[in-house]
Amino acid sequence: MRALFLAVLMRDLRLAARRRIDALLPLVFFVVAVSLFPLGVGPEPQTLRHIAPGIVWVCALLATMLSVQHLYAGDQADGSLEQLLLAPQPAVAVASAKCVAHWLVNGWPLIVAAPLVGVLFDLSAPALGSLVIGLLLGTPVLSLLGGLGAALTLGVRSGGMLLILIVLPLAMPVLIFGAGAVGAVESGQSAAGHYSLLGALLIATALGAPLATAAALRISTE
């Protein structure tokens, strides 16, 4: 099973490396979307500092939803997905590999860009750190949940919006704890509780989501 996992992972990474623009588009969306908020809300630094964690997290969430739509679509179009699922190893290997690849390609740019964007909102250094830690723990969860949504809506009309609609409620706890961590640090408290909860969510999702995604892939390709 590890061989299949690694094979799918390396293949996806190689494909992403060839289409660098596609990989960077969600990142650009993230930065643009975050920049809209001051324009809508006003440049008052106090306000911006207060709403920054929420904005960064929501935009990261939306950027992930956008980037995850193509996770399986390309493979389904050229028939390689069916081939992968025909392998004797369980589909969990494929599902997990896809999510890990997605996180490496799409999650990391967000984690790196977030503190830079946070500076635009005048967040303090500890707050920026908290933002990064939260995203480190949270973006894998978003990739996992997004993978499940992508598998469920594979080939369905208006799959994009549908994916967002079904995954967003499931992603709300991550949003709450991630943004809450930054808020806690900003007000001088410890964010340890938040991190623990994020960690717990990560473990639970890492255990459950690939299984559910594998089932969804079987459902969608039958």
């Binding site: 369905v156 609609l165 499931l170 969510l201 459902i219 969608s220």
Partner: protein, 252 residues
């Protein structure tokens, strides 16, 4: 025939169709009777509340609606899972029939919550844990409905819906816990729907009777809807052909 086998009889769409057809009128009678009694108790027997005046009477439909919204979601996920695990079409059809009613009660809980919030707390909407969780529950319902309606192949739609509703059901405690946590963090919101008026016995009775009325209503309307779904899905079978021909003969 043992009781177990008798129950499995109704897994056949044709037999379930007939059963629900027989039960439905009685369920409507039950709904009407319970509603009348419950409303009478709520408006004419239950006293005025000292702090909230007469606005509190909204609770008689707000709480039952919220309960139904959660019960129906669990029922929907349960039947969808049964349909998936046992490849039982009828169970999946029942799950699909439950969704719109569940969404309706969720909306009612939110609507009545807002209209209660305004006189009680001064705002049309408060982001307290329970109302916010109810809002997210509405999104879960809408997501399920959108997913099963978007997929053309009925079997794939049933299975995908089952997976989604089970994932949703598992997430509900997580979502509720995180929303409650979020709510207590942001100390501005000391408003809480749990600060309902101390329930006099009559108030509690009225609320419970209306809950039962909503239960009966849910059975009745879900049975109505599932009958429609059965006809839609079983359109090409002989028993539906017979049904239609009999209907035409009787001039219905």
């Amino acid at each position: 025939m043992t009781a177990g086998m008798r129950l499995f009889n109704f897994a056949a769409p044709s037999r379930f169709y007939t059963l629900t057809g027989t039960l439905a009128p009685w369920l409507w009678v039950l709904t009407a009777a319970l509603s009348v009694v419950g409303l009478y108790m709520g408006f004419f027997v239950a006293p005025v509340d000292a702090t909230q005046g007469n606005a509190y009477r909204i609770i008689f439909i707000h709480v039952p609606a919220a309960w139904m919204s959660m019960v129906l979601y669990l029922a929907m996920a349960f039947w969808a899972a049964i349909g998936w695990a046992f490849r039982a079409r009828m169970a999946s059809m029942l799950a699909r029939a439950l969704a719109p009613t569940g969404a309706m009660f969720t909306f009612v809980a939110l609507w009545t919550g807002a209209l209660w919030g305004k006189p009680a707390w001064g705002a049309w909407w408060v982001w307290d844990a329970r109302l916010t969780s109810e809002l997210i529950l509405l999104f879960l319902y809408l997501g399920y409905i959108a997913l099963v309606e978007a997929i053309d192949d009925p079997r794939r739609a049933d299975q995908a819906g089952a997976l989604l509703s089970v994932v949703g059901a598992v997430n509900i405690p997580v979502i509720y816990f995180s929303v409650r946590w979020w709510n207590t963090l942001h100390q501005g919101a000391t408003i809480s729907m749990t600060a309902a008026p101390k329930m006099a016995a009559t108030m509690l009775t009225a609320m419970l009777i209306l809950t039962l009325a909503f239960w009966a209503y849910s059975f009745a309307v879900v049975f109505m809807r599932v009958r429609a779904i059965v006809i839609e899905r079983e359109r090409h079978t002989a028993w539906v052909a017979d049904l239609v021909r009999a209907g035409k003969g009787a001039g219905a």
